[in-house]
């Protein structure tokens, strides 16, 4: 399932990395934050919306300079990187699925240029049909599907990335089951 998901997600321009353990993913994230810009005048470089990893083993990263867990509109609009922890993925289309009823989840994944999506390998489902029994619109007011970066072909049908949403989607897929999950 992971291989199909990876192939499809990469097919629409997302980048997919796989880690056996949370700690490895956090190391990757730490290095990413370092290379993707530490110095930024004013607000934070990265915003991380609430999630099991952030509030668990990932807490240490929040104390780094330039990264914040306090996701406001201003912080997200100014940041380059948005991190969120998604609930499901669909292998047949390379899609991430998340209950984004909390606005922070949308802010980090729509206003920033680079969206880092943390996914658990065990939550990759085959397709939309398999997802149906897992989600309930009565309980989740804003269910979001994300398939690759923001794109447009509105000028001369030329595919161009990053018109309103993220220009890059980086998926960190962790095999280890999250504590809260």
């Amino acid at each position: 399932m992971y291989e199909q998901f990876k192939a499809k997600a990469e097919g629409v321009g997302a980048e997919v990395h796989r880690f056996a353990r949370e700690t490895e993913a956090l190391e990757f994230l730490r290095a990413l934050l370092k290379t993707e810009g530490t110095a930024q005048a004013g607000g934070p470089v990265a915003v991380w919306a609430p999630g099991a990893l952030r509030d668990g083993a990932g807490k240490v990263l929040l104390s780094l300079p330039g990264i914040t867990g306090a996701v406001t509109r201003e912080a997200a609009a100014g940041a380059r990187i948005g991190i969120s922890e998604v609930d499901w993925a669909l292998a047949d289309t390379g899609t991430l699925v998340q209950d984004q009823s909390a606005p922070e989840q949308r802010l980090v994944s729509s206003l920033t240029e680079l969206h880092v999506a943390i996914l658990r390998s065990g939550t990759i489902l085959s397709d939309k049909l398999a997802l149906l029994s897992k989600i309930d619109p009565r309980k989740s007011r804003y269910i979001a599907f994300i398939t690759g970066p923001s794109r447009t072909a509105d000028i001369e049908r030329v595919l161009t990335i990053g018109v309103h949403g993220p220009k890059r989607v980086l998926i960190l897929c962790i095999d280890e089951t999250g504590v809260a999950a």
Binding site: K8, V12, T72, R73, A77, D92, T93, G94, T95, S101, A102, P103, E104, R106, L107, S110, L111, K128, L129, L132, P137, R138, S140, R141, Y142, I143, A144, F145, I146, T147, G148, P149, S150, R151, T152, A153, D154, I155, E156, R157, V158, T160, G162, V163, H164, G165, P166
Partner: protein, 711 residues
Amino acid sequence: MKREFKESITRAVNNANLTGALGKFSEAYKVNRAKAYEGMDFEALRGTIADRKAYAASHLDEMAERFTANAEAAGAKVFRTSDPAAVKEYILKVARENGVKSVVKSKSMATEEIHLNAFLEANGIEVGETDLGEWIIQLAGQKPSHMVMPAIHMTKEEVAELFSKEVDERLSSDIPRLVEVARQELRSKFLKAEMGISGGNIAVADTGSIVLMTNEGNARLVTTLPKVHIALVGIEKFVEKFEDVVPVLTALPRSATAQLLTSYVSIITGPTENDDGSRKELHIILMDNRRSEMARDPKFKQALQCIRCGSCLNVCPIFRLVGGHVFGSVYTGGIGTILTAWFEELKKSDDIQGLCIQCGNCKEVCPGKLDIPEMIMEIRRRLVAEQGTSLAQKAIFGVVNNRKLFHGMLRAASIAGKAFTSGSFIRHLPLFLSDLTETRSLPAIAAEPFRDRFARIEQPKGCPEKAVFYAGCLIDFAYPEMGASLVKILNKAGIEVVFPQEQTCCGAPALYNGAWDVAAQNAADNIDALRADEATYVVSACPTCTVALNHEFGKTLETAGRTEWLEKAKVLAEKTVDFSTLVKRLVDAGRLTLKEGNELGKITYHDSCHLKRTLRVSEEPRELLQKAGYQVAEMFECDTCCGMGGSYSMKLPEISAPILQRKLHNIKETGAPLVAMDCPGCVLQIRGGFDREGSKVEVRHTAELLAEQVE
């Protein structure tokens, strides 16, 4: 057709940017769409969609009530109205109550339908379209030219020009740079807007959810940043159950842009929190605007199965030449013609319905299983019923309904036409008729029609079976040699051919012009003349005639209320078969043998619209030609219309001509010296085209080629 309309067509077909962009897109689309649906059962998928959407459309009140109850239980405010003016007033009222000065919108055809932007702006509210294509259109002060790709008619240079003015900076036409400018400009609009307006791709009755799909991500910002969100949803967007969302999500992106899924899908059920902790105000407007009236109309209720993917535009050979603007309304293309006739008024579709050449491409790909050509025919019929046919047409159809007079005139034309004839072609006609011969020569009327020649054909005695030959006007009066070929072939298989002299026009010209009463009389006359019950087969070498005999006669007579003919029409329909299908059967049964071992060289085959898409015949003629010793080299777009379309090529020569040019080009590209087809109408168009340009490519009916190769 009105002069301004004709002029807008001429402008469009001569706009190289437009036809270039649309042409390139349509070619890529065909390949990419097929790839997007790879490994899927498209027929099953669209069966499900048609089913679920038809259910919702036939229970609109119930859907609206359930949706309202569920959305309101989740905290949304739902406003249902049939009146576009009430929609606008409601939105203005909500805007005033919330002190709204600026609005951001994600793409919504429903708001275009009611001209919402102009209304809000007139009331002092700034409106920003945020879909890139829509924003370009808004800056240019134009209408969208395509449902999914609103600015497909514009070049990057034109966009750079518009953006330069907007940001007061000289911009180059570098597309990524232009997109970045749009990102920056629109981001500030998003952040300051107090209200977001969206459409809705799907509305789920059981849960009160609306589903929004975008690639750019603008709908996510429209529904997240402003504190008020209004979704305007046409009530054709209903599905009953949450699981019904899946087939629509599966088909819509594949059919619209050949994507497996749009970058973003949002399923919104009730208001969420705003980022300052306050609760969002969510209003959902359910707009009718004649949709429920449409749902009650037996001929048009299927239009509510449309999921607005625009694939009918993407595969239309006419649309790719003229684009959306000639339609003069918000909705364009085949589906646009139908929606305009309803949402505006029937009369408004008078000119644009004539753009449809009835090739049937759109019906093949529609994920909602809409029969768009049939609905356009119904519009024609109603227009004729409402305002009558033009005097000129009346005169023509009067003649067609009088066989003796009609055939007498055709015979006279054979003599009168001589003045313009060179060889077997009419190469030019005087004055106002000259358009007809500008891009293709017309066949000269045969000196001896098939009906006279038939008597001199000697047939073998004692054939075990009998076939009635229905010639149709073109074979009878222009190409009698095709009829002679058919007789020769069937005789070899032990079938005696009879030719009832009372047979007349199949009625297709009248039918395709909305004159159903004329077509019904043609149907009755032919049923009477052909006496199908006395033969094993009724065979025709013209697919349009075959379709008339085995698909249309019954429907036409029923619509005209002449039910006493239905039983006989059914007998005729059951016996009717097209030439290639019958011959293939005879060859397979060992009753007919083609000469073995011949190497006849390269040939290419043109699929005629009615043969391929109504009669579902495409392999039979190819297999027969191959068996006879030809090597079939497929041409690009082999099943795209040649632009003939009966009287279409005479009414709209400015569209028919470029379609023909494309066909001629594709034929020549194969390098084959010979092209075969099963329709005398296509022969007329394509042979005339090659004659006009002085090409040596030979154009033949399959019957003529096979007649040379039967043992």
